[in-house]
């Protein structure tokens, strides 16, 4: 069980830089569309790593199922809301930033 617990810790640590880079991207990227890229993709992978890590540490099927379901629901919510935000920006005629 020690191995499971430690590999869980490793996965959780692996997930952290994704969250960090999602936030850095949100601050550094130039417009709404590129920022959406940063938030949805990086955070989904980060959450996936943390969910898998916690599932390995929990050593319980019920908790594992719950964590995976939470990840799935977050995936659905974030990709749908990302699309809706991008669509509303397109409809407001917000032009994407392009390389000068």
């Amino acid at each position: 069980m020690e191995i499971l617990y430690n590999s869980g810790t490793l996965l959780i640590i692996l997930g952290l830089p994704f969250f960090l880079s999602g936030t850095v991207g949100l601050i550094r990227f130039p417009d709404i569309y590129t920022r959406l890229h940063a938030l949805t993709k990086a955070d989904n992978v980060g959450l996936g790593c943390i969910v898998c890590g916690l599932a390995l540490q929990s050593a319980s099927w019920a908790v594992t199922a719950k964590l995976l379901l939470i990840w799935l629901l977050v995936l659905i919510a974030s990709s749908a809301s990302c699309h809706l935000i991008a669509r509303s920006a397109m409809q407001k005629n917000i032009q994407p930033w392009t390389r000068p």
Binding site: S21, D31, L36, G48, I70, R87
Partner: protein, 177 residues
């Protein structure tokens, strides 16, 4: 107007169809997994499950295709691999000292049938490396990309193929993808 009429007709709770029971079963399972064995949580859970089932039935009536198990088994590793690469890609661009962005818009015409398959496709585009679905008009998807140098068309066609394999659609349609 047609929509409003359907809304009124469907909201009468008269037709307890098999599809409705199937949705109740699915949403009850979701609620059970999320809340565990706490019986009192069903005070909120029962209305939530009923409303979700009814809304789901109204917004997405029966789909004309079923999900292929082998397609789903191939889709999961594909999806995990792609979204991991998408995360790495964003990380590289966000943390690099140089400006690595070269964004632009791309238009793509999908051959997937209207309904759940197309919506699923549009939503998963946002999880591929460097692409984000910005708009859907009929069968035309407007895609925003972080880097116009990426092989966007090839990536999206690949995703479209995987989504088509996920559902049972006629094989000649699949070939044309």
């Amino acid at each position: 107007m047609i929509r409003d009429h359907r809304f009124v007709k469907d909201f009468t709770f008269v037709s307890f169809s098999p599809q409705f029971f199937f949705r109740i079963l699915v949403f009850s399972t979701v609620w059970f997994v999320l809340t565990g064995s706490d019986i009192s949580s069903w005070i909120v859970g029962v209305p939530a499950v009923l409303i979700a089932s009814k809304l789901n039935l109204m917004l997405a009536p029966s789909s004309h295709y079923s999900i292929s198990l082998s397609g789903a088994l191939r889709f999961v590793p594909f999806f995990l691999n792609q979204s991991f690469r998408g995360g790495i890609d964003v990380m590289r661009r966000a943390l690099s000292a140089k400006q690595l962005l070269n964004p632009g818009l791309v238009s793509y015409v999908t051959l997937l049938p209207e309904g759940s398959a197309r919506i699923f496709f549009v939503n998963t585009i946002s999880l591929l490396p460097g692409t984000l679905s910005a708009e859907l008009h009929g069968n035309q998807v407007t895609i925003h990309t972080l880097d116009r140098g990426l092989p966007i068309w090839a990536n999206i066609q690949n995703l479209e193929y995987h989504v088509a394999a996920l559902i049972h659609i006629s094989s000649d349609k699949k070939k044309s993808l």
